[in-house]
Symmetry: C2
Subunit: 345 residues, 2 copies
C-alpha cells in the first residue's frame, strides 16, 4: 500500500474497528489532501522516507487518536525488506526511530533476510523498561516462507498473501483459498501462528469465508484505494472505478518503467493491465518502453499509469469515504457469518 495509504487512513481504520498500517518505504509522503502531486513526487524522489518523515506519520496517528506521549500507538508500520536493507545500512536507519514511537506492530515484506529485522525489533523491545512488545507481521507467499517466518524468525503473525493480491508478492503464490489451508496443515496441531489472509479480498462475504477457512484475520489493500482518503490520484481512481474483473495482471513490466526494481527472486507485482503491458508484450526494449511511458505521462494520458491493484477491482465501482467502506465490510462479514450458522440448523 505504499503510494496508496496514509497515516490518516490507518487511524480511520483503527477507529472503525480494524487494525491500520502506515506504509513506510518509498512512499509519496504527502497528505491525501494533495493527491495530484503524489505520482510525480514519488517518481522524482530518489530516496525513501526518512526516519523523521516516518516519525511524523506516527505523530499524525498519535494526534488523530489522542494517544498520550509515550503510550503505544494502536497502528502498525509496514516496511519493505529490500528497502530496509538500504535504509538500515545508511546514516539514517529507520527502525529505531519508528520503534521508539511505539507502534503496536511492524509489518515486514519482501526480503530474503527479514529475520535480521525481527531480531532487531525483539532486541529493541528487550531493552524497553515499560514492557511494550511490538507485534511482528510478515508476508509469506508459500508454506516454506510461513515455516521460516514463524519458526526461524519468530514473527507473531504470518500474512498469507495469495496470487490475487495487488501490488507486490509471490509470482508463483497459490490462491488464498489454498494458501491458508496449506500453511495451517504445515504446522503441528495447535502450533500454527495466527494467519492473516490477503489477496483479492474486497467483500464481507469473502472475509467471512476466510475466517471460516481458518484465518485469524484478513488484510485488504485494493478495496481501500476506492476511498476519498486514498492518495491514488483522481486519474488513477477513475481507472479503478472503470476496471472490471480480469483488469489486472502480474509481472515486473510495471516496475521496470516505474524505476522501482529491487524485489527478491520470484516476486513481481499485480497492477491494472494497460499500455505498459502491451508495450512489454510487443517485445519492445526497455528504452522504448520508457520512452512511451514518459510520453504518455507528459500528455496526461491514463493508459500507461502504474496502478497497483488486486483482482478484486471488478467488485467495486464507487469512491466512498473509508469509514463507510469499512463499516459496510464489517456489516457484510457479520451477515455472512450469521447466514452460515443457519447452514447447520
Amino acid at each position: 500500500m505504499a503510494f496508496g495509504a496514509t497515516a490518516e487512513m490507518s487511524t480511520i481504520v483503527h477507529q472503525a474497528g480494524g487494525f491500520g498500517m502506515i506504509p513506510a518505504g518509498k512512499s509519496p509522503s504527502v497528505s491525501h489532501t494533495d493527491p495530484a502531486s503524489n505520482l510525480a513526487r514519488a517518481r522524482t524522489t530518489k530516496g525513501f522516507d526518512s526516519s523523521a518523515q516516518l516519525k511524523a506519520h506516527l505523530t499524525t496517528a498519535r494526534k488523530s487518536l489522542s494517544i498520550a506521549a509515550g503510550a503505544p500507538i494502536p497502528v502498525g508500520v509496514g516496511f519493505i525488506g529490500w528497502i530496509l536493507d538500504q535504509t538500515e545500512a545508511s546514516a539514517d536507519p529507520r527502525l529505531p526511530g519508528v520503534l521508539a514511537e511505539k507502534p503496536a506492530a511492524i509489518w515486514l515484506a519482501f526480503g530474503a533476510a527479514l529475520g535480521t529485522y525481527v531480531a532487531q525489533i525483539r532486541a529493541f523491545d528487550a531493552q524497553r523498561t515499560d514492557g511494550h512488545r511490538t507485534r511482528v507481521f510478515a508476508i509469506v507467499n508459500d508454506v516454506e516462507g510461513a515455516l521460516r517466518a514463524a519458526g526461524a524468525w519468530g514473527v507473531d503473525v504470518v500474512v498469507a498473501q495469495g496470487i490475487e493480491a495487488g501490488g507486490h508478492g509471490g509470482a508463483e503464490a497459490l490462491p488464498v483459498l489454498s494458501l491458508v489451508p496449506a500453511i495451517r496443515a504445515a504446522f503441528p496441531p495447535g502450533a500454527c501462528p495466527p494467519i492473516v489472509a490477503a489477496g483479492g479480498v474486497s467483500t464481507g462475504a469473502q472475509i467471512a469465508a476466510l475466517l471460516v477457512l481458518g484465518a485469524s484475520g484478513v488484510a485488504l489493500g485494493t478495496r481501500f484505494l476506492y476511498t476519498h482518503e486514498s492518495c491514488y490520484t483522481r486519474e488513477m481512481k477513475a481507472v479503478l472505478v472503470g476496471a472490471g474483473w480480469g483488469a489486472t495482471t502480474r509481472g515486473l513490466m510495471f516496475d521496470e518503467v516505474n524505476g522501482t526494481m529491487g524485489w527478491p527472486a520470484k516476486h513481481d507485482g499485480r497492477a491494472i493491465a494497460n499500455g505498459i503491458v502491451e508495450d512489454w508484450a510487443a517485445g519492445l526494449p526497455l528504452s522504448a518502453r520508457l520512452e512511451r511511458f514518459e510520453e504518455s505521462r507528459a500528455r496526461g494520458e491514463k493508459d500507461r499509469l502504474v496502478i497497483w491493484a488486486g483482482v478484486g477491482v471488478g467488485m467495486t465501482d464507487e469512491i466512498r469515504a473509508l469509514k463507510d467502506v469499512f463499516e459496510e465490510l464489517h456489516s457484510d462479514t457479520v451477515k455472512a457469518l450469521r447466514k452460515s450458522s443457519s447452514l447447520l440448523a
Copy 2:
C-alpha cells in the same frame, strides 16, 4: 474427471450424501478393478463412449443403488461440449439414450454452443409423460459465461470453476474466492442461480468457506483421485501422493502430446508439471515432444504421464477408500461451520 471417475464412484458419493457425476466423453470405459489398462486403452481408443457404453454406466449405477427400472437415477452424467458436437452429429447420438435412463442431472462443460444441448434436454423432458425433469449444470469460468448459461441457456446450476481446478477449464479464470462473488454480484438480488464452486477444493474447511461465501455447493475432482476407486493407475496415484503444493501447472502442452486437443478458445488444462512441461518449455517442436512422450511411456517411466490434477494436490498424501474420504470431508465441513458460529458469540 474423465479418465478418473467411474459409475461406481458416483454411487459411492451418492450413498455418502453427495451428488455423484458419471463422466461421459472419451473415458476409459473400464471398471476400477482394471486400472492398469486405463491409460493405454484411453489413448488407443479413437472414438468416444458409445451410447451403449454410457447406458451401461447408468445401469451399473441403477443396480448399485437398487433403483427400479423406469425410476430416476440419483446421479448425473457429465458431457464435454466439443465431444458432444461430434457425437450428437454422428450415427450414434449419446444424449437421447442417456436421457431415457433418467439420470437426475446432466453436467455440460467446454463448448461455445452448449445452449443447443440445454434446449435438447428441455425438449426431451417436455415430451416425457412422467414429469421427470433433468437438472442441467454448466461449468462457467467468468461472469459473462454465468450470465449466458443462466440467462440465454437457462441452466439450473452454474458451476463456477476457478483457475485452481485440475483438468480442463478457463485459462484466464479468476480464483474461486473471487469468481463466486463476481458471479453473485452480476445477477440482480434474488435472481442468482445456485452456484457450485469448483477448483482446488480438497478440505472441509474450504467447503465451509465456499458455502459461507455464497456457493450453494462445491464440486471436488482431484480429491477423489486419492481413492482406491479412482481409475487413475497405480503409477499415477503414486505421483499424486508425492506431489506438493505448486506441483501443477496449466497449459495445452499436456493435450498436445496426449492427442486430446479440441478445447474451445481460452481453455486449457491443469496437470502435474513434469517432463512434458520441460520439453515444451525447452521449445521442442511437437514431433520431438511426442517422441519423448512415447519413449517415456514405452520405458514405463512416470515423469511424462498426463496426470490431470488441481492445486489441492499438496494437501493430501494418502490413498483411501472414497467413502472414508467423503465422510471426513463432511465431518470437517460441519466442524468448520460450527467453529464459525462461535465467531459471532
